[in-house]
Symmetry: C2
Amino acid sequence: MQEERRIAVLRAIVQDYVATEEPVGSKALVERHSLNVSPATVRNDMAALEDEGYLTQPHTSAGRIPTDKGYRLFVDRLGSVKPLSAPEKRAIASFLDGAVDLDDVVSRSVRLLSQLTRQVAVVQYPTLSRSTVRHVELVALAPDRLLVIAILSTGRVEQRVVELTAPVSDDDLARLRSRLNLAATGEVIAEAVTALKALEDEPGEHTTAVARVLVEAMSDHRSDERVAVGGAANLARYGDSFESAVRPVLEALEEHVVLLQLLGEASPSGTVTVRIGAEGPIENFASTSVVATGYGPHDDALATLGIVGPTRMDYPGTMAAVRAVARYVSRILDES
Amino acid sequence: MQEERRIAVLRAIVQDYVATEEPVGSKALVERHSLNVSPATVRNDMAALEDEGYLTQPHTSAGRIPTDKGYRLFVDRLGSVKPLSAPEKRAIASFLDGAVDLDDVVSRSVRLLSQLTRQVAVVQYPTLSRSTVRHVELVALAPDRLLVIAILSTGRVEQRVVELTAPVSDDDLARLRSRLNLAATGEVIAEAVTALKALEDEPGEHTTAVARVLVEAMSDHRSDERVAVGGAANLARYGDSFESAVRPVLEALEEHVVLLQLLGEASPSGTVTVRIGAEGPIENFASTSVVATGYGPHDDALATLGIVGPTRMDYPGTMAAVRAVARYVSRILDES
DNA sequence: GCTTGGCACTCGGTACAGGGGAGTGCCAGC
DNA sequence: GCTGGCACTCCCCTGTACCGAGTGCCAAGC
C-alpha cells in the first residue's frame, strides 16, 4: 500500500523535475498531482526514497531531485510508453519518404530525430559486415592505373585506385572483371573477402593486386564506423553547467569511435536501450543519458540510432520517438 | 608621428585583449609593451581611437576593447603575417599525407584546421561544377533495373537506380554504356550534362531514362553543398554569453546552406578572406568572425575552407594556419 | 604643440549583513 | 499509518559599504 504510493511519488517527482528543472518539494507535489495525501506524508515517503538512493537533495532545505538510480527505476518500471500522436507519425512518414539514397536516409533520420526529441541525434550507418556485394567494377584510368569500385547492398560505394606494374589490355580487364564478380557478387562481405583472398594466390597477371585492394576496401572498418550527428544546437538548452556538461558531449560527438561506444551494441529492433549517467562507457558523462535502439532491413539490427541528452529528460517521449524513427527507417531499408 | 603611435596603441590593445580576454587599460598597456610614453599619453590616444570608432568601453571606468572596425583595421593594416613554425609545417604535412580518398582528405583537413586554430573548422567539398566526368558505368541489377554510376575527377561517385519499362539485353547495355561514355567522359560536368540532354531525345529504347537519371545525378546540387565541420568542442571556450553567442553558431553549423553562405565565394588561393562580426551574411553573428580561403588543384579555387570563431581571436595566427592548410590540401589534390 | 604627472571622479566587483521563503524533520494526536 | 503543527535550516535576494582599476581633464614641462 505505502510501497505503491512511494513509487507514485517517485514518478511524480521525476515528471515534475523534468518539466520544471527545479527541485520539487512536498507541497508543490501534492498540489500538482492528485495523490490524496498530505504533504507531511509525502515528506515521509521522500525521506524513505532518499534513504534507498532514489532521490537526493541539492542542499538541506531544498526539494528533491532524482538520482541516476531514481531515473533508472522510472525508466524500467514506471515509464508508460507514450504513443506518438497521429500528426507526429505522419510527420515521420512524410519526412523520411522521398529519400533518394542511403546518405539521404541517414541525414534525414538524424534531422528528424533531433527535431522530435529536441536532443542531439546520432545515427550509425548500416554496417558493412552483414551487407552483401552488389557489384564490382573496374575502370581503366590509364593503361596501368585501375579504379576499383565495390557497390554494396546497403547502397554504399567503396573505391580505390590501383597502380599496376604493367599495362592491362581491355580483354584482360573484361576477364578480370567477370572473375571478380563471379567470386564476390551476391555474397556477404565476409564470404566475398575469403573468395577474393583465394583469388589473390592465383597466377593471373594483375589479379593479385586488384583482389588485394578489394579485400582491403571491403574490410576497411573505417567505414563501419561512420555516424551522422545532428541537432547539436539543442545542447544550448543545457543552460547551466556549460563547461562541465556540454564540452564532453561536444567532444564525444566528434570522435566517432567514442560515439559508437556510446551507442553501444545494437539492441534488437523494438527494444530501446537507455543508459543513464555514469552507466555509460564514457567518463565525464555524469549528467548525460543515451537512448538508443537497433535498426535495419527485415528487423536485422545492422546499426544503431539514438539520442544523447541530459539525464533530466522526458524518457517516455524520447523512447517512443527513437523507437518510431527506427521502425520507419527499417521499413524504408526493407524496400530498397 | 602621433598617428603612428596611435596605430601602435591599437595594435597593442588588440593583442592584449585577444590574449587576456579583458578590457585593457592604459597602465597595463605601457607596462606590457615598450611604447616609451606615459599612461596619460596613451589615454589621450585611446580617447581619440574611441572617437574614431576603433575602440569601445564596456562601461565608463573600464579599459578599452576593440570594435569590429578596430579588428578590421588590425587585420587590414597591422597584422604582420605570422609564419608557421617548422614543427607546425611538419605536422600539417604528416597529418595530411596518407589520406586515401577525397573523404579522407576533407576529414583530415577539418581536424587539422580545428586543432591548429583551436576554432571550429569548416571545409567545403570540391564543387562538382568544374570537375570532369571520369567514367560512366551501368550495372544490371535485374533485367529491368539498372544501377547507374558516374565517377568524377574529384574522386566523387554519384549513383542512382533506374527502373526500366522493359528488360534490357547485354548487347543493348554495352551499346548504351559506350554511347554514354562517348558523350560524357572527359567533359566538364556542365558540358556532359548538355551532351546527355541531347541523348535524352534520341529514339533508343532505354537511352532516355538512363540519360535523364545521369543528368539528374550530375546536376544534383545537394552534392555541391557538402561540407565537413570539426572542432565544435572549441565552442566551449566561448565561456560567457553562451546562449547568445554559441547557439547561433551551432545552428549555422547544421545548416549546410547557411555554412556555405558564411564561407562565401571562394577567394583566390593565397588570399585569405576575413569577415568580422556583422560583416557576414548572417544575423546574430555579432561577435563571430570567419576566416576563409579558396583551395583546389592547380590553385583553382574549387572550394572554400576556413574557420569560425569569436571576433576576439588571434587573426595573424589563424590566417596563417588557414592559408597553410589550404596550400597543402591543394597540393595533395594536384597529385591525384 | 605634444607629453606628462596629478587628481578627482566613476563604476563594477566583492564582501557582509539582514530578511523572506520554501522546504524539511520531527512529534504528538487521531 | 496519516496528518497538522512547529521549529529549524539554508538558499537567495537586497541593500550597503568599500576597494581598486581606470578614466578625463588640467596645468606644467620639454
